[in-house]
């Protein structure tokens, strides 16, 4: 029962990563891309857990903790950077992902 379930779970998580990559390429704003990054990090943590079930070893738990920590810190760092760097809509046209490309006058 376990190997069949593992195969189905690996297929589902791989499909989830692919759909997240589609949103990562299409995403109209940069926040959609951050959400896609978060979902891909979660799927990778799930895949590590599935590998740990497959090989029946608890050695990968540190890896699970490390990857979830990296995903969270990455998301928070992006949000706190964009809090200052991203222009509010209304001041600029809707393509908010592109920063204004004018260099400061020297």
């Amino acid at each position: 029962m376990i190997p069949l379930a593992l195969s189905i779970c690996f297929g589902a998580l791989t499909l989830a990563v692919l759909l997240g990559l589609v949103r990562l390429f299409k995403g109209p704003t940069v926040l959609d891309r951050i959400l896609a990054f978060d979902l891909i990090a979660t799927s990778i943590v799930g895949m590590i857990a599935l590998l740990s079930v497959k090989w029946r070893t608890p050695l990968y738990l540190e890896l699970v903790l490390l990857f979830s920590l990296l995903g969270f810190v990455g998301t928070v760092a992006f949000v706190f950077h964009l809090h200052k760097a991203m222009p509010a809509r209304g001041a600029l046209p809707a393509s908010d992902a592109a920063a204004p490309a004018e260099p400061p006058p020297s």
């Binding site: 029962m1 376990i2 989830a16 759909l19 949103r23 979902l39 857990a49 738990l61 699970v64």
Partner: protein, 106 residues
């Protein structure tokens, strides 16, 4: 018995992560997408890690999986909350329900 329970938990969790990915791809704006990612992916990774705990057994895995579960449950909604707060603050485009095509029937 343990194997069946672990397989069901793993399948449930992987299915919910897949549902989160589908919601990320198909919902119309940033707030809806962060709604999908926060709830479904939290439940999915919770269930996958619980399945890992059931499969490995308490003696082998110990409390480290509980730490990983608590970390995921605490951080994924917090990250999605930060993203949606930034989307509201920067006034990103929001989805409105389209007007009904004709007058209502009654």
């Amino acid at each position: 018995m343990t194997e069946i329970l672990a397989s069901l938990l793993l399948l449930f969790g992987a299915g919910f992560i897949l549902i989160a990915a589908i919601g990320l791809l198909r919902l119309p704006d940033v707030l809806c997408r962060s709604h999908a990612v926060a709830k479904a992916s939290t439940l999915g990774i919770f269930s996958v890690l619980l399945g890992l705990w059931v499969e490995l057994g308490v003696a082998a895995a110990g409390l480290k999986i509980v730490l990983a579960i608590l970390f995921q449950v605490a951080t994924i909604p917090a990250a999605a909350h930060l993203v949606s707060l930034l989307a509201k603050q920067k006034n990103l485009p929001r989805w409105h329900e389209p007007a009904p095509p004709g007058p209502p029937a009654e």
